[in-house]
């Protein structure tokens, strides 16, 4: 085999890249949630944080790494799903999947695609205006609070984060399994931390949005 070929071309390699990009996106969400939480403190603090994120050279480089992380995770996820469908061309007449696995673990592609759709809406509403400076005279804080003032936007936002929470609840611990860091001594802790993390992310983003909708 050519050097490192196995690191890119095999079922385990695909899972590895899925896991690594997933864990990277997991850390990104923590940063994003922290910045969002600043809106609860003051408009100035959030605007300052948004300005820092938009201008800091390191963050500018990381933006491209983040985009690559998203793209690899999405493309690999779709590829894995298509391959997996091909591995069972004839379906069972009767299948009791609920007897041996969680719904969240079996619907990663569905929750993933719905979150991707949300991501596209989200980029159009926040990232593009902020990046291009085309914000209709509003500052970052006003842009955010104005959008959350619309009930249908906040509803889509909250539903998307609940779906993301379900996605993360399986994905978090699954990533550690895929890179080979899990064993029976640690699995309880990893699942527990993953569930707490998912609730904090889904709940955190949602509650901030609901807060701005109400107040």
């Amino acid at each position: 085999m050519a050097p490192l070929k196995g690191f890119f071309h095999s079922s385990i390699a695909r899972k590895f890249w899925m896991a690594i990009t997933g864990l990277f996106l997991v850390t990104f969400l923590v940063v994003h949630l922290t910045v969002n939480a600043f809106t609860l403190v003051s408009a100035e603090l959030f605007n300052e944080a948004a300005h820092f994120m938009a201008t800091n050279p390191l963050i500018q480089v990381m933006q491209y790494v983040l985009a690559a992380g998203f793209i690899i995770h999405i493309v690999m996820g779709i590829r894995l799903t298509l391959q997996n469908r091909k591995a069972r061309p004839d379906r069972y007449a009767m299948e009791k999947a609920g007897a041996n696995s969680s719904l969240g673990s079996r619907t990663m592609i569905q929750t993933g695609i719905l979150v991707l759709l949300f991501l596209i809406i989200h980029l159009r509403n926040f990232f593009v205006p902020i990046k291009t400076g085309n914000m209709g005279g509003m500052d970052d804080y006003t842009l955010v609070t104005t959008l959350f003032g619309e009930w249908h936007y906040t509803l889509i936002y909250v539903v998307s984060f609940v779906l993301l929470g379900v996605h993360l609840n399986h994905g978090f611990q699954s990533a550690f399994q895929s890179v080979g860091w899990k064993d029976n001594r640690w699995k309880g802790l990893m699942s527990g931390v993953g569930t707490v993390y998912s609730i904090v992310v889904a709940g955190g983003f949602s509650l901030i949005a609901i807060y701005h909708f109400l107040f």
Binding site: M1, P3, L4, K5, G6, F7, S10, S11, I12, A13, R14, K15, F16, L80, Q83, N84, K86, A87, R88, P89, D90, R91, Y92, A93, M94, E95, K96, A97, A99, N100, S101, S102, S105, R106, M108, H170, Q173, S174, F176, Q177, S178, V179, G180, W181, K182, D183, N184, K187
Partner: protein
């Protein structure tokens, strides 16, 4: 007991196949599932009909030959048993039971409920062994000290009977639990460590070539495995494969 059976009938690999309904009376709750099928087959033969083909051999849960996807689960609703160890007392009078073959691209149907599992044999041939000099100076394996903890985990992995329930159950028809058990049983022992890297690389390569799906860590295989092979083995295989791929 009276039962309504819905059984997959397929007269050879090229045949399209379909589910066929059978009613069976006088089923004793003490029969094993395979004995119930034996009784059904006897009645079919008596009627000059083609009996249902299904795999079976030891009928004591150790050979891994019997398969069958029963009511949506590999080896039926019971846990940690093969189909020959499943008893009819797990069902109720009047139940409808679906009986299907393992479904996977890598396990083509031969006839009715029998599938070709030789993909597993080819994975074993790719590296599921320890090279031992048999020139007459063979060392006694028991002469090598092995920590009890490692020996136990190796033995747990070696309990895999290669039945294919993991593949049949997995929504992706992935063979990772099987391959990881076969890799782990050797890599945990000093005799197996020597070839561990090549073994992991070659067995995974063969597994991919056979057309099994990718593992997405749903954990269904571990639940349905008649020998309760742990998912821990899959993590070990991932670890060993990735470190082997890095240095290769």
């Amino acid at each position: 007991m009276k039962l309504h059976l819905k059984i997959w009938r397929q007269n050879g690999p090229q045949d399209k196949g379909k589910m066929v309904d059978y009613d069976i009376n006088d089923v004793s709750p003490d029969m094993s599932f395979l004995e119930m099928l034996d009784v059904l087959n006897e009645s079919l033969v008596a009627k000059n009909e083609e009996p249902i083909a299904f795999d079976h051999d030891c009928r004591e849960g150790i050979c891994g030959t019997c398969s069958l996807f029963i009511n949506g689960e590999a080896h039926g609703p019971d846990r940690a048993v093969t189909t020959c160890q499943l008893h009819m007392r797990k069902f109720k009078d009047g139940d409808t039971i679906y009986i299907e073959p393992w479904r996977a691209k890598a396990f083509p149907v031969i006839k009715d409920l029998m599938v070709d599992r030789s993909a597993f044999d080819r994975i074993i041939q790719a590296g599921g062994y320890v090279s031992v000099n048999t020139s007459g100076n063979t060392l006694d394996a028991n002469a090598i000290p092995i920590p009890k903890h490692d020996a136990d985990r190796s033995f747990d992995a070696a309990a895999c009977i290669g039945c294919g329930a993991c593949v049949a159950t997995c929504k992706n028809a992935s063979a990772m639990l099987f391959v990881s058990a076969k890799v782990s049983q050797f890599s945990l022992l000093p005799q197996g460590k020597v070839e561990a890297k090549q073994r992991a690389l070659n067995m995974v390569k063969q597994m991919d070539e056979e057309g099994f799906g990718n593992c997405t860590n749903t954990g269904a295989c571990e639940v349905e495995c008649p020998k309760e092979i742990s998912l821990e083995n899959i993590a070990r295989l991932n670890r060993e494969y990735l470190s082997a791929a890095l240095v290769e």
